[in-house]
């Protein structure tokens, strides 16, 4: 075990924010590419997972604020943009796989499974070059235990709780000591990868909600087109009824689009630039929300809705390069032009 300084811990918690954030645009692309009314189970599953990832971002920001850090979503203080350009490796991972922006497809589901893969018994905690996200958080948990209680110096007014955050697989809560910090880590790890011997996530215990499969297994059942039922384990795989998946009822977005794909002055370039600007506005609002102005989260919901409309509009435009593919949102940072 390496021993971290408070500065190391804050650096890793910023990485946590970035890891959680990095998963969201790929999930959104898959979700928004699904034709309304088709693949309903898949759409519901992906939507639920995105909502929970947003909760994880919020809890990671609360953790970072609790230990005196300051979450970043935009380039500032001489640092580069903390959000990735797709395709990307997960931040500070072992670079085993890349995550791209893709429409709903078997390939996308395979990537999603990899993102949410459980640590597996005996995998050591790893703060850097981790193989699974669980290993990363185990390392964070050890450092927190090591540095507690002195590390919890953060300004409590920076914490974002359920007054401002809502909608994702449970409630955001304030973090101010080791107990609340560990509760947050438990939510992040267990919702994603499941508890060692169980494929179900802990919502029911923590939040009193309905029993729900952990993310990995939700994607696994879609990928295998078969439901998990009670009694199934990671070893048995899903043994329930079939799931109907229709990969044809999907907008065929070209993977990981960029604004530069389209010539300057073209209509698609303008639409992509506009969508990137909306995305960047959202990042600015989130940064403000997690650095002392939590009411910004309420305004950011409108930006999220606009991002969705603009992204779906792009996904409906066929490219004229003969590929049979459509345009799509690029999720690129662009310094918003003001306002």
């Amino acid at each position: 075990m390496t021993s971290w300084s408070p500065e190391d811990l804050r650096g890793h918690l910023q990485t946590a924010v970035e890891i959680e954030w990095t998963t969201i645009p790929p999930y959104l692309c898959a979700l928004w590419s699904i034709t309304e009314g088709r693949n309903e189970l898949a759409a519901t599953c992906i939507r639920d997972v995105v909502l929970e990832e947003m909760l994880h971002v919020t809890l990671a920001c609360n953790l970072l604020n609790a230990v005196g850090g300051s979450p970043r979503f935009t380039p500032r203080d001489g640092q580069p943009s903390p959000v990735p350009s797709y395709p990307t490796f997960l931040p500070h991972s072992d670079d085993a796989f890349r995550v791209g922006l893709r429409p709903f497809s078997a390939k996308a589901l395979k990537t999603f499974r990899k993102i949410e893969h459980p640590a597996g018994g005996g995998a050591p905690p790893e703060g850097d070059r981790y193989a699974t996200i669980a290993q990363f958080y185990e390392a964070v948990a050890e450092a927190l235990a090591d540095l507690a209680p002195d590390i919890f110096t953060g300004d409590r007014s920076l914490q974002v709780d359920s007054s401002y955050y809502y909608g994702g697989g449970g409630e955001a809560f304030a973090i101010h000591d080791l107990t609340t910090a560990n509760e947050a880590l438990d939510v992040i790890i267990f919702q994603g990868e499941g508890i060692d011997l169980s494929i179900w996530d802990p919502d029911r215990d923590v939040f009193g909600e309905q029993e729900e499969l952990a993310h990995y297994f939700r994607f696994d059942e879609l990928y295998r087109e078969r439901r998990y039922v009670e009694g199934d384990t990671p070893a048995t795989g899903p043994t329930g009824g079939p799931i109907l998946i229709d990969y044809d009822s999907v907008l065929p977005m070209r993977p990981s689009p960029k604004a530069d794909d389209h010539p300057a002055g073209s209509g698609l370039r303008a639409l992509t630039d506009e969508c990137n600007e909306t995305y960047s506005t959202l990042l600015v609002q989130l940064e403000e929300a997690f650095t002392g102005r939590p009411a910004r989260l309420i305004e950011s919901v409108q930006t999220m809705t606009r991002l969705r409309y603009e992204s779906i509009a792009l996904m409906n435009v066929p490219l004229d390069d003969g590929s049979g593919k459509n345009a799509g949102p690029a999720f690129q940072w662009r310094a918003p032009s003001g306002g």
Partner: protein
């Protein structure tokens, strides 16, 4: 509580099928099922059956979405558009209403049989969840003087409960429905709150339009009937999800709990909230004990009494269980219980009693009230962001009480976010008239963008007094597909209301002038709800606030039920809902109805000796 002159009914016998049968799975049925379903005799839960005439429309998220699809696919977005009614349990629809003439009476177009002289224009929904599936979610308390109208203003009937007695039940109702409001906005005209009380959620933010109107109207003094009043635009308490206060967790969509945790401003509250951020009784149904049995598509046709004495207890209910698409059932079924609750609405409850022998209390069916709803509309000088947010998020409440109520109706004023929508079929009619002017392309878009966001209207809801001539009755010549008599309705709007309309019209004109708006209000004698007073014309529609037909009072001679909504004649029969309201005053009645239901649930538990 000492409320009961009746002996406790107790578990009368093991031979009854159920302890309690509730007729109607709307808002009242849901609250009763929630409270009574969690009670037990010893370790055994109460045996409760709920019979609902209509279908289940929202047992899962995708069931509910089918209603959204219906709404999206309907060409006229009336309140009942999303909710498919059954041929065997038809719902009245606002599209059924036609102008009445002496020659056209009775008009049996649709489910109601209209005897006039004016048409009864409100609708309702017969389905699990009831008419609160398409309500706006306005959750105002009544003002204390509303409970004492006879003593103070010399007409109507005093309530047998006071504001103070109802206060704790208002709190329960506000927490059950999930009302968003701030206490300091709601303390007017004598309305008080318990020290330290807070609503479950903070108020829904005022719309840009609200703030714009308040900027001009707040502090203006108007003099109506010699009384000077300083106007104030108040945030309206609404049962839709907002930022929660301590101790409350917003309830999301039924079957998709991540959805609907905050109002998203979809602006289709009436007829349907697509994310279920607005309260509907489906949310309460989601919390009802599994021991409560709900049978939908069961139309109760008769109350069977134990003998022919006018005060015989109820012995059984007769009902038809139907399946849509199949022939009607040939014979009714029967169910027995110790306590019977009619929780239909102010038309279905009396309809059922009037169809049963012996003839009920003479007050049953009489005093039908609604809020006649009049609109005035204008074009603002600038963009006020019309059509954003719920239909109405603020109102002018300070004119809801005053000495003038001796002479004319009080009213509340809605500040409306939805432009002219159903008045002129806007924005579609704006598009048509712009195209007719020869506009197209960018000019057409500019015209629409200029005009539509400037549309503004006030909505006025007037108190209607109880009039024995406004009533629900039956005529065996008019029956539904099951052979059950349809509601016949005699309805009029008296001078008390019309004088209120005149007062509001003058106020509306002066406020439009103060706002710099150009008034476009025009009332037409070809509309069904056309009335005049002193040469002033008005068009009214129904607000859907049916009340009064089994009014509560202090004695058998002036009312149909006691303050607990228990029938004066039949000791094991409750009639629960807006029908029990002796007067309707000016507040949208759902919150008061819910508060009264909580109070009655306690009385029922007392009857059964289980509290």
């Amino acid at each position: 509580m000492g409320q009961s002159a009746h002996r406790p009914v107790g578990r009368l016998s093991e031979v009854a099928d159920y302890d309690i049968v509730i007729v109607g799975a709307g808002p009242v049925g849901a609250i009763l099922a929630r409270v009574l379903g969690s009670a037990a005799v010893g370790s055994e839960p109460l045996r409760i059956l709920v019979l609902e005439a209509g279908p289940a429309v929202g047992r899962t998220w995708s069931d509910y979405q089918a209603n959204v699809d219906h709404y999206l696919g309907s060409s006229i977005k009336v309140p009942n558009a999303p909710w498919v009614s059954s041929a065997y349990a038809p719902s009245p629809d606002v599209l059924d209403v036609r102008p009445l003439t002496p020659d056209s009476i009775p008009d049996d177009n649709g489910y109601f049989v209209q005897y006039g002289p004016l048409p009864f224009e409100s609708d309702y929904v017969r389905a699990q969840g009831g008419t609160m599936l398409h309500w706006l979610a306005t959750s105002l308390r009544m003002v204390p003087n509303d409970f004492e109208i006879r003593s103070r203003y010399g007409h109507g009937l005093d309530w047998p409960v006071s504001y103070d007695e109802l206060q704790p039940y208002y709190e329960r109702a506000e927490w059950e429905l999930g009302v968003s409001a701030n206490v300091e906005d709601q303390e007017y005209l004598g309305i008080t709150f318990r020290d330290g009380y807070h609503f479950p959620m903070s108020r829904i933010p005022l719309s840009y339009l609200d703030e714009h109107v308040a900027g001009t109207v707040d502090g203006l003094t108007v003099t109506l009937d010699g009384e000077a009043t300083e106007l104030l635009v108040s945030s309206t308490p609404q049962a839709r999800n907002s930022t929660p206060n301590p101790g409350y967790r917003p309830i999301g969509a039924h079957g998709a709990e991540h959805m609907g945790l905050r109002c998203e401003g979809n602006s289709s509250c009436i007829p349907i909230c697509p994310v279920q951020a607005k309260y509907s009784p489906l949310k309460t149904w989601g919390l009802v004990s599994r021991h409560v049995e709900v049978r939908t598509q069961c139309v109760v046709s008769k109350v069977i009494y134990a003998g022919s004495a006018p005060d015989a207890p109820v012995a059984a209910l007769e009902y038809y269980s139907y399946t849509d698409g199949l022939p009607p059932p040939a014979t009714p079924e029967r169910v027995t219980a110790d306590i019977y609750v009619l929780a239909g609405n102010a038309i279905e409850n009396p309809k059922l009693l009037l169809a049963s022998e012996p003839t009920p209390n003479d007050n049953i069916g009489r005093h039908l009230m609604d809020h006649p709803y009049v609109l005035s509309w204008a074009l603002m000088p600038e963009n006020i962001g019309a059509y954003r947010g719920p239909s109405s998020t603020s109102g002018i409440e300070v004119l809801r009480d005053g000495a003038f109520r001796k002479d004319r109706a009080a009213f509340r004023m809605e500040v409306v976010n939805w432009g002219w929508d159903f008045i002129t079929n806007s924005p579609f009619s704006d598009l048509e008239s712009a195209v007719d002017k020869g506009l197209y392309g960018a000019e057409l878009r500019a015209e629409i963008a200029d005009r539509v966001p400037r549309q503004f209207r006030f909505g006025f809801l007037y108190e209607q007094l109880p009039d024995p001539g406004n009533r629900v009755f039956l005529n065996n010549g008019y029956v539904d597909a099951l052979g059950i008599p349809r509601p016949c309705i005699a309805y009029d709007v008296d001078d008390y209301v019309r004088k209120g309309m005149v007062a509001s019209q003058g106020l509306s004109e002066s406020l439009f002038a103060a706002l710099g708006a150009t008034e476009y209000t025009r009332y037409s004698d070809s509309k069904p709800g056309y009335v005049t007073y002193d040469g002033w014309p008005f068009n009214f529609v129904g607000a859907g606030h049916l009340a009064g037909t089994h009014c509560m009072g202090t004695k058998r001679s002036n009312s149909a039920v006691d303050s607990f909504q228990r029938s004066w004649e039949h000791e094991n029969l409750y009639l629960i809902g807006c029908g029990s309201m002796p007067t309707v005053s000016t507040s949208n009645p759902s919150l008061t109805m819910a508060a009264l239901a909580f109070r009655s649930a306690e009385a029922i538990l007392d009857d059964l000796g289980v509290r």
